[in-house]
């Protein structure tokens, strides 16, 4: 399979603090990869660099054949940790926004998903709960036909039933030509939808492996392995 993401010797510093150090990794199309690590390990920094909203200090990053930049943004759909729409916007205005921004966005898909979630398209963002705002944001991000989806904590603020919906949404929109990267702490919830996991710790990659291989080799779940590797 072809790599949809490649990082070579990527280094990012915030002042004197090193967030990512000499990080090299690759992610294949057609795979759902979990990006796992404790707080402050560099997950969000990596995702922001790949999405093109954060500069890096050294190394190279490619999405498909594009170096990260304007062209890469066309093929990457990014779900940030926190929804970014202004509280005064209506849900259907956010749809127009995405349609205007992205050629690969399908408003039909978005409208269908919002309907199945019982979200009123005329509602103002302000009137929605935190969980519902996150769902709206996810619906928009998954309604693009991107080559790489970067989902930063997609289930952070939602209840368990909504988590199931989110996982189903991700599986529904999965296709062989795209890669999906999910960063999360809720490992046991996402474990069965992942192909591979990447563990990062203090800006270094400590493991990149297939989930079923971990289970057969170690006789334990990814969640259990995570607790072992990152025991405090």
């Amino acid at each position: 399979m072809k790599n949809i993401l490649e990082c070579h010797n990527l280094t990012k510093k915030y002042g004197s603090k090193v967030a990512l150090e000499n990080l090299s990794l690759s992610v294949e199309s057609g795979k759902i990869t979990g990006l796992l690590g404790p707080n402050g390990s560099g997950k969000t920094t990596l995702i922001k660099i790949v999405s093109g909203i954060l500069n890096y200090d050294q190394g190279e990053v490619f999405a498909g054949s594009h170096k990260i930049g304007i062209e890469s943004k066309k093929i990457i759909s990014y779900l940030p940790e926190r929804p970014y729409f202004s509280p005064g916007m209506r849900v259907n205005e956010t749809i127009k926004f995405f349609k205007d921004f992205y050629n690969d966005f399908s408003d039909d898909v978005a409208v269908d998903m919002l309907k199945s979630l019982d979200i009123n398209p005329d509602a103002k963002i302000r009137t929605l709960s935190k969980g519902t705002r996150e769902k709206v944001q996810l619906v928009l991000v998954m309604s693009r036909k991107a080559r790489l989806y970067l989902l930063d904590e997609p289930m952070g603020g939602v209840d368990p039933a909504a988590r199931d919906f989110i996982l189903k949404t991700i599986l529904n929109n999965y296709n062989e030509d795209a890669g999906i990267i999910i960063s999360t702490h809720l490992i046991s919830d996402v474990e069965k939808v992942l192909d591979d996991v990447i563990f990062i710790k203090n800006g270094h990659m400590v493991l990149h492996k297939n989930v079923d291989e971990i289970r057969s080799e170690k006789g334990k779940s990814v969640d259990a392995l995570f607790r072992e590797v990152f025991a405090c």
Partner: protein, 122 residues
């Protein structure tokens, strides 16, 4: 279909076991058509590649077969269900005997218990 997964073994193996159980119990019958990989993956909430791997393995074992254009079927071999039934029975018996031995019961005790409770709810 009702899918459940534990944390001990690879998901694809657990999918295989559950499909085997469906064939053994007759929930899936010889010649039945299976839903697509994508549909099954969404239903079980697992990765499509994992579902694909489980189905390919079951095909390799001869329990499923795929017809090029029309999808995947339960193999048209009624003997398969019997073999799987017997395997599941053996597995249950093994666990039962192991547990009873650990609890210190004799074979005679066990036979008595089975006779006593076979037709009654415990």
């Amino acid at each position: 279909m009702d899918w459940k997964f534990n944390n001990d073994s690879p998901i694809y193996q657990q999918i295989m076991e559950q499909i085997k159980a469906m064939i053994a119990t007759g929930t899936l019958k010889a010649g039945d058509k299976l839903p697509s990989v994508r549909e099954l993956a969404i239903e079980a909430e697992v990765n499509p590649n994992t579902m694909q791997k489980a189905l390919s393995e079951l095909e390799r074992e001869g329990l499923l077969c795929s017809k090029r254009t029309s999808g995947r079927y339960v193999s048209d071999n009624p003997a398969n269900a019997n073999i799987l039934q017997e395997e599941m029975m053996m597995e249950c018996i093994k666990i039962f005997i192991d547990t009873m031995k650990k609890l210190g019961y004799s074979m005679e005790d066990c036979i008595q218990f089975i006779e006593k409770y076979w037709n009654n709810d415990i």
